[in-house]
């Protein structure tokens, strides 16, 4: 195994040969300048996926250490990072993790399995980068089609606003945002949570408490309801419409906008990292600016998840 650091040289398209080749240029002091080979977008996509595997360890004891070990080795070894066998193994281990406690795995674990499978297949294909980009577009597009389908046609309580009205009040992960943006006081929030507690079957309160929903909170719930549907539909269309109809910048813009806004609130950073890694998988090697934007977005989603921004803003507002 050839140990490397996460430098561009490590991911040169010529592998180790380029890194060891004599430098063609010298600097002002006469020392050889390192050869700067282009980083392949595909490698960055795979590396970000491996990092995502490490950031959110998953699965029972008999797959978790193996997934973590393979992910570490992939980051250290470009050969393993580009190994179809290694990605196939990851896909199998993710499938085992899903089957082990079916149906409790979250949806992004399924998407991770498909993505690892797609990477493995692309690494066996002649046009590896094109194959991966195509799989990435279809996977993201279809996942968002099903997400929109559930929200607009299959669920009885999403479009009428009930989902976000209740979730903003009862899910502790959204409590700070409900106060900061929705204008609820902490007392109102606590009273609402009490009022929304389940009673035993057949039980009924003589004087049921009413639920406080300031206009700002109703507006936030409506904006979240329609905003998420609009964003998801936009990503689905951008990914699935043929290239002449949707330019690359629109496609990536939609995905980045979705990740930049949704994961500010949604407590599922793992899904965000995966989508961003898959987005990089659609870039060609000349789109270096977009690649940097994706990596920055990956970091931003880390910060979203780790910094309780809404709570800090509330504390600052209270003085």
């Amino acid at each position: 195994m050839r140990p490397i650091a996460l430098r561009e040289l490590a991911f040169s398209s010529q592998g180790g040969a380029a890194a060891r080749a004599p430098a063609a240029e010298v600097d002002a002091a006469g020392d050889p300048r390192p050869v700067r080979s282009p980083v392949q977008a595909r490698d960055i996509a795979m590396c970000l996926t491996a990092i995502a595997l490490l950031l959110r360890p998953m699965g029972p004891w008999f797959v978790r250490p193996a997934i973590l070990a393979v992910a570490v080795l992939m980051i250290l070894s470009p050969a393993l990072l580009r190994s179809a066998l290694a990605w196939g193994a990851i896909a199998v281990m993710v499938a085992v993790r899903i089957a082990d406690d079916w149906p409790l795995a979250d949806n992004h674990v399924y998407l991770l399995g498909y993505w690892a499978f797609a990477i493995a297949l692309s690494l066996r294909a002649r046009a590896s980068a094109d194959t991966l980009a195509c799989s990435s577009r279809w996977l993201i597009g279809l996942a968002f089609v099903f997400a929109v389908l559930w929200k607009t046609m299959l669920s009885p309580d999403f479009l009428d606003g009930r989902f976000f009205r209740v979730t903003l009040l009862t899910d502790p992960r959204f409590g700070d945002a409900a106060q900061l943006i929705g204008g609820l006081s902490s007392g109102q929030l606590a009273a609402n949570r009490k009022a929304l507690e389940l009673l035993p079957p057949g039980a009924e309160l003589l004087d049921p408490p009413s639920i406080a929903e300031p206009a700002r909170l109703r507006l936030l719930a409506s904006a979240a309801t329609w905003g998420i549907v609009a964003l998801e539909a936009a990503v689905a269309l951008a990914m699935l419409l043929p290239a002449p109809a949707v330019g690359s910048s629109v496609r990536h813009g939609a995905l980045l906008l979705f990740c930049g806004t949704t994961y500010l609130f949604a407590p599922v950073a793992g899904f965000g990292w995966l989508l961003l890694a898959m987005g990089v998988g659609q870039l060609d090697d000349r789109q270096t600016v977009l690649r940097r934007v994706y990596v920055a977005a990956f970091l931003v989603v880390i910060f979203y998840g780790e910094i309780p921004w809404a709570g800090l803003a509330l504390d600052a507002g209270r003085g």
Binding site: S135, W150, L154, F163
Partner: protein, 132 residues
Amino acid sequence: MKMLAPALLVAVASTQIALSRTFDLTAWKGGGFGMFSTLDHAGYRGVDIVVDAPDRSESLQVPASIELAVARAAACPADRMLRAVAEAVVARERRYQRPVSRVTLTFWRADFDRATLRPSERPVRTFVYDVP
């Protein structure tokens, strides 16, 4: 080759929709990408357990040892899942040398009023397991 993984996604997600319609699989689970689309999730679903024997009829709180089985059954209250819960309950009762001849499981979920948001618990399915 490039369409194999997307085809797998469509197959699993379509199956998830079918299971949600036939076995009440929650939209949030099963690979159908229905998360954050409905209140019908683990927080508002559950399984009540009643144990019967000649000298007892007792409602049980879900013990930690069978929490996982109950979570799976609440997410997808199919016969197989509910039977697994019932068998785990019987095994636990026998470990504590308590008599058990029947386990009755009631799968319920919460509905929220469209206007007032007031929740109500609605029994959806009852599963009776007679101990062999």
